[in-house]
């Protein structure tokens, strides 16, 4: 039994006979059924259905007394016969029947009687060929003896080409990387088993150089066993391992495909078996087996795509790492600030002790004396002199102790009473001769009067001293407050000198042993982050102090300079300290560079933070140093034209 069948329907047995004769050449591939009535035809169809035989072609005759057209139309409604080609043989009169067969029954061909010889055969051949091309694509060539050989062949080739093109990539979807590698390996090994003139199959010992970065490469190595590492030089010339390749991976692929110099250096790590192909051998292999080209292309594509995937993943991870580094960096800067602040606070806390001590002592003195001072008898006793010395104490800065002592010595020579002399000087009465006379007449009474007066003087001078000390405390607190910077500090227009002066207050006790020279020139007010800048001044001054010799000299100079068509405010800090060795001067702004030991100021990343802050201001920080002579750090802040004019309009 054949897979397909052909059915002829005609009420005329002679016609049937003619049809059968003409169709007989197809019998090899198609079972031939004939029917003389519609009933017989339906029975034949049922028979075919039962045998699961598909009807490929129905040829039905149509005339007044035989409605073949209707039979063809109902075929089209039936699932089983839908695909069958339909030929109507008409007597040429019933045009309506032909039209409805065309319209309703998708009639494929219409013949009119009388039938020429061989016409049915030719028509059937054409229709069967069409049927087969649509319904038995896989076996086209098996029909070439009986059907339209030319059409079948062309369709077959088209089909194959389309399939080849379409399947080039997708055919291998079902293969795992491993399976693909195995297929390619097997195919390649098979090829070279037959002949291997170029010794494509070879085994390398470990440490064998395959490609060298930047050099020409003519070969493609297909690894069948072992491991190859790829290295690439980074910008400072250190070889970095990029990836390790093993079985199924390809070395030299990129330069082989693009013709560019090798991207990396490939070295075998172990004994490695490879198939080494140059372009000629490669072409030869691919020609030998057409299925190998898509397979190999697939392998190459996968190889590169896997590498791409890896590098994308790496990039994502790097980005994540970069972000967390950024966070860590921010934290580090924050910690540097806190460490610095901690040390400043403890320094300032100590420094605060002096004025606080003076205030506390002064308060006690006043508390002890106040009762006596406001007593009427005391006031009577001192009279106007009391008011005068109180006023003096309140307003006048005391003479230096040395000057006081000199004066006291002079007075003592006249009256020979050291205690009286000292008090006269202290109370500013040494010009009044009457006191000398009084002392000579009654020294003890005079001393007592002077002691009374001194209490009034002390009340005044103590109040004055409390005021001075409180002022100093306020200054220090103000300078310290400057360090409590919020992270989102905004730009303000300020006088740079103020920030520097505030910072110097903080370092007052450290600078006591040294000299600070100020060479301030007029600067316009600049928009800046004042507190961030104060951190810069703090670092620069602190570094200068650390570098100082026994007698340090810090020169702070400010000036306006023109450079590169740009006005700059240049603030330089020059110390006469140990200097920075030439070999490390390049590194001083690096984040991980410090020469300081634990317990030094901050965390030792001060300069790197300074540089960042200065860059935030669009400025730059320069260093110049000479061993054992000096170090000069200059901060350059850009000054815009508007600030200059704003200044001149002030």
């Amino acid at each position: 039994m054949n897979q397909f069948s052909v059915l002829c329907l005609d009420s005329n047995p002679i016609s049937i006979e003619q049809l059968r004769r003409e169709l007989s050449p197809f019998a090899a591939k198609f079972d031939l059924h004939s029917a003389e009535s519609i009933e017989e035809a339906n029975a034949a169809l049922t028979f075919c259905t039962e045998r699961k035989q598909t009807v490929a072609l129905v040829i039905a005759s149509h005339h007044e007394s035989f409605n073949g057209a209707d039979f063809l139309i109902q075929l089209d409604k039936n699932q089983h016969t839908k695909t069958a080609r339909k030929i109507l043989i008409s007597c040429g009169q019933d045009i309506q029947a032909i039209l409805s067969a065309v319209n309703d029954g998708r009639l494929d061909h219409c013949l009119t009687k009388p039938l020429q010889d061989n016409l049915v055969h030719k028509t059937a051949q054409k229709e069967l060929t069409t049927f087969i091309i649509e319904n038995d694509k896989e076996n086209l060539l098996s029909y070439s003896q009986i059907l339209d050989q030319h059409r079948l062949l062309r369709t077959h080739i088209d089909q194959k080409m389309r399939h080849y093109r379409e399947g080039f990539i997708t055919d291998h979807h079902s293969l795992s990387d491993q399976q693909l590698v195995e297929q390619v390996t097997t195919a390649l090994l098979e090829f070279f088993a037959k002949e291997d003139e170029t010794r494509a199959k070879r085994t390398y010992s470990s440490d064998h150089l395959l490609t060298k970065e930047g050099e020409e490469n003519q070969f493609l190595w297909f690894i069948t066993k072992g491991t190859v590492a790829l290295y690439k030089k980074d910008e400072i010339g250190v070889q970095r391992e990029v990836v390790r390749h093993s079985q199924g991976n390809i070395v030299g692929g990129m330069s082989f495909v693009t013709g560019e110099p090798s991207f990396s250096t490939a070295v075998t790590l172990t004994e490695t078996e490879v198939i080494k192909l140059d372009r000629k051998v490669f072409a030869k292999v691919m020609h030998s087996d057409t299925s190998l080209l898509p397979l190999f292309t697939n392998l190459l594509l996968r190889h590169f795509n896997r590498r791409l995937q890896r590098s994308i993943n790496t990039k994502l991870e790097l980005q994540k790492t970069l972000e967390s580094l950024e966070d860590a960096h921010q934290q580090l800067i924050e910690r540097e600030k806190m460490a610095m602040l901690g040390q400043l606070v403890s320094g300032v806390a100590h420094e605060l002790n002096n004025p606080i001590a003076a205030i506390l002592r002064g308060t006690e003195t006043l508390t002890n004396k106040i009762q006596t001072l406001i007593d009427e008898r005391s006031i009577d006793q001192v009279g106007d002199d009391g008011i005068a010395v109180l006023q003096l104490g309140l307003t006048q800065r005391p003479k230096s102790t040395a000057a006081e002592r000199d004066l006291a010595n002079q007075v003592n020579q006249k009256i020979d009473n050291r205690r009286v002399a000292k008090k006269l000087v202290k109370l500013g009465l040494e010009q009044q001769d009457r006191w000398y006379d009084e002392t000579k007449q009654s020294p003890d009474a005079t001393l007592e009067r002077l002691e009374r007066l001194e209490e009034y003087y002390l009340a005044g001078s103590t109040l004055r001293s409390i005021g001075v000390c409180a002022g100093r405390i306020a200054d220090m607190v103000k300078s310290l407050k400057g360090y409590a910077r919020p992270n989102d500090e905004r730009f303000h227009v300020v006088d740079i000198h103020e920030g520097i002066e505030d910072t110097l207050v903080i370092f007052e006790n450290k600078l006591k042993f040294h000299t600070v020279e100020r060479d301030y020139n007029e600067l316009p007010q600049l928009p800046c982050l004042p507190i961030a800048l104060q951190q810069v001044w703090t670092n620069l001054i602190s570094n200068a102090i650390d570098a100082f010799p026994d007698k340090g000299l810090l020169t702070i100079r400010t000036e306006l300079t023109q450079q590169d068509a740009q006005q700059w405010a240049v603030i330089s800090f020059t110390d006469n300290g140990c200097g920075i060795p030439e070999e490390i001067i390049e590194n001083i702004f690096s984040l991980n560079f410090t020469t300081k030991k634990e317990g030094n100021f901050g965390l030792g990343i001060g300069l790197s933070v300074c540089q960042q802050i200065i860059h935030q201001h669009g400025g730059k920080i320069l260093v110049e140093s000479c061993r054992d002579k000096f170090t000069q750090m200059s901060v350059w802040l850009p000054v815009s034209q508007t600030q200059l004019t704003a200044r001149s309009h002030e």
């Binding site: 320094g347 100590h350 420094e351 605060l352 002790n353 002096n354 004025p355 606080i356 001590a357 003076a358 506390l360 002592r361 002064g362 006690e364 003195t365 005391p398 230096s400 102790t401 040395a402 002592r405 050291r418 205690r419 002390l458 001078s461 103590t462 001293s465 001075v468 000390c469 006790n509 006591k512 042993f513």
Partner: protein
């Protein structure tokens, strides 16, 4: 009765004045002087030496220009004229290292932290002066009123026993 010098050194005038004020009560028996720098203090000590006035006690700040208080005290300790001087440091900020160095050079007799209390300072100074006077003065009785009377008398008694009176 010999004259002795009490010297206060602090570069901050307000602090110096309040120290002097606190020690005012000793002026009757001692020469009380103030110096605003180590330089001035040295000069003053020299001058007094020439008049045969010995430095009995020095109250010194630590952080000062030129020289730290402790360096100065060590220097004084190394000079014969001032070796016996009682040495007090009055400071808010001597580091541990400096202080240990001073103690080890036996250059520090007493340490008072800023801010201090008046009676505490006077008490410390009185005790140190008492020790100085007992160690350096033959005739102790006149000092009994000004200094730690009990200790002075004890010392007098002790001396008598020692000299077998």
């Amino acid at each position: 009765m010999n004259k002795y010098l009490i010297l206060c050194v602090d570069d901050e005038r307000e602090v110096l004045d309040s120290v002097i004020q606190d020690l005012d009560c000793f002026e009757e028996y001692f020469l009380l002087e103030a110096a605003e720098s180590v330089q001035e203090a040295k000069q003053l000590i020299d001058e007094c030496n020439q008049q045969d006035i010995k430095l009995a006690l020095i109250v010194c700040d630590h952080i000062m220009p030129d020289q730290t208080g402790i360096q100065f005290l060590i220097e004084l300790n190394e000079q014969p004229d001032t070796a016996a001087t009682r040495k007090l440091l009055l400071t808010g900020q001597a580091g541990l290292e400096d202080t240990v160095e001073a103690v080890n050079h036996s250059s520090l007799d007493f340490y008072i932290a800023k801010p201090w209390r008046g009676d505490e300072l006077r008490q410390a100074v009185k005790q140190q002066l008492t020790t100085y006077i007992i160690d350096n003065e033959q005739d102790l009785i006149p000092w009994a009123a000004a200094l730690d009377t009990e200790k002075i008398f004890e010392a007098v008694a002790q001396n008598r026993i020692n000299y077998g009176e």
